[in-house]
């Protein structure tokens, strides 16, 4: 994907272009078919990926080429991009720490969303039916998470007033770091067990598949 960064500055309310020429990216909003900036920062224009050319086969009927995609225009505060707060959105992969476990849910504190370390304290909830994809009715929270574990999860909903709803129902989601009852960091042995290297004892967790 070809990128070209132009260093024009934009302030909130500045006209960036027409909506027929650009796609709106983060930091912009549309008003009356025009794109305006909503943030203070530098303007970036990203060209879309070029569609592959048609395959040369005389006997094949190919549909008409899809309309060319528009370049995406976005505004971001370059240099202090880590400072900008992001909100966990549906579909994001987040890293969180288990705070409390209850019979039918685990309460977690969301620490990292995507690549950004969060400033604000967001709370998340992993319900018992979202822990894994199979045998949902026979999940025991105590055998999937423990307080203090670091969990990789996916946001499935904005949730209610207090917490986001998260899910670990995929192979690569689950506990990525856990401490044993003796206090040592454990290593994973299977999809449902971590083992303490010093004592040799195993503890049940819902383990994330290491990349």
């Amino acid at each position: 994907m070809a990128t070209s960064a132009s260093q024009t500055l934009a302030i909130p309310g500045q006209l960036l272009g027409s909506a027929s020429k650009y796609q709106p990216g983060p930091g912009t909003h549309i008003h009356e078919s025009n794109l305006y900036s909503s943030l203070l920062g530098a303007v970036h224009v990203v060209q879309p990926a070029k569609a592959p050319g048609p395959v040369k086969r005389l006997t094949k009927i190919t549909p008409a080429a899809p309309p060319a995609e528009l370049p995406t225009i976005s505004v971001s505060r370059s240099g202090v991009s880590e400072k900008r707060e992001v909100l966990p959105e549906v579909g994001n992969t987040v890293l969180c720490r288990v705070v409390r476990i209850m019979p039918r849910q685990a309460v977690v504190a969301i620490l990292i969303c995507g690549d950004t370390v969060l400033d604000a304290e967001w709370q998340g909830l992993i319900r018992v039916q979202d822990v894994r994809a199979t045998e949902k009715d026979r999940v025991k929270i105590y055998e999937s998470f423990r307080p203090g574990d670091i969990v990789r999860a996916e946001v499935i909903s904005l949730g209610d007033q207090a917490s986001y709803y998260l899910s670990t129902a995929r192979n690569e989601l689950g506990v990525i770091m856990a401490t044993s009852e003796a206090g040592n960091t454990m290593y994973p042995v299977s999809w449902k067990e971590y083992r303490d290297p010093e004592t040799g004892l195993g503890e049940p967790r819902k383990v994330a598949k290491p990349y």
């Binding site: 309310g13 305006y36 943030l39 707060e85 604000a120 209610d160 007033q161």
Partner: protein, 287 residues
């Protein structure tokens, strides 16, 4: 309200004594008359990013009427957020704005208390109305943003006596300064806004005694005129050409209904001038 937690100083004016120069032989203090054009605003200094620990911050100074180069209004604004709402608050699909405006106890001629009084709450409500029209609220569900403004020096000329000038009109100048500085701090904090908001004040003033005619001036200082009949404070979005907050106060002549729209137009002019300062200072932030 009785503030029993602190040992408060005596209630009353806190004007330090101003000693006259030996060369100046004036018998009575001359009232400073307005030297600016009726459609000119005072010089303004605005800088963002002054508080590193906050998400966004800004500082505003406006020069006073008494002496050249001496500032009369000093405001400091910090923005915290977007941050998560407390657990007890109900679900909200948009951002919750909370504004706090506070005069420092030493800011005005009459010493103020440490707790907020109704006039400061009033300023906070007007500020919230002005900013709510500019923020794109539904990009930040379940979040809150706190805007805290400290007025370090109110817009009151210390050289003039307490009899001249009126406190109520100075509130309008303070509000327009609050709107401009809060808009700069919000842009610094990275909260999505539709446009930059700037505040402006226009007033119907009367000079020349009973026979004087009323005229409209912008950015009024109450000590420069004999009497201010009415004033209005406008919060204006220049690109969208929209007003987000409008505050009218005073006695309007009932024979001329056009004065209302004329005052609003002049208020918009004042906002546009303040917006130019705002845009330039935001441009310096990113460099």
């Amino acid at each position: 309200m009785a503030d029993r937690r602190r040992v408060n100083g005596p209630v009353g004016a806190t004007i330090p004594p101003v000693f006259e120069d030996e060369e100046v032989q004036t018998q009575e203090t001359q009232r400073v008359t307005r030297s600016r054009a009726p459609n000119g605003i005072r010089k303004m200094y605005l800088k963002t990013g002054v508080t590193p620990s906050a998400s966004g911050s800004a500082y505003l100074e406006i020069e006073t009427s008494g002496k050249d180069g001496v500032s009369g209004l000093k405001l400091s604004c910090t923005v915290h957020g977007p941050r998560s709402l407390p657990r007890s608050s109900p679900f909200s699909p948009h951002i919750i704005l909370s504004t706090h405006v506070k005069f420092a106890p030493f800011a005005t001629k009459q010493r103020r208390g440490y707790l907020r009084d109704p006039s400061e709450r009033d300023l906070g409500t007007h500020l919230e109305a002005a900013l709510r029209g500019a923020i794109i609220a539904d990009r930040w569900p379940k979040s809150g943003v706190d805007i805290i403004i400290s007025i370090i020096e109110g817009d009151q000329d210390r050289e003039t006596s307490g009899a001249q000038g009126d406190d109520t009109w100075d509130m309008m100048n303070a509000l327009s300064g609050c709107i401009t500085v809060a808009s700069a701090a919000l842009a610094d904090a990275g909260i999505d806004c539709v446009d930059t908001v700037a505040g402006g004040v226009a007033a119907l003033v009367k000079d020349g005694g009973e026979t004087g005619t009323a005229r409209i001036v912008i950015d009024p200082i109450s000590s420069e005129h004999e009497s201010i009949e009415a004033a209005c404070c406008i919060a204006y979005l220049p690109t969208r050409d929209e007003i987000t907050n409008l505050w009218f106060k005073g006695d309007m002549p009932d024979h001329d209904m056009g004065i209302y729209s004329e005052l609003v137009q002049q208020g918009i002019q004042a906002s546009k001038l303040a917006n130019r300062v705002l845009v330039e200072s935001l441009g310096e932030t990113v460099k």
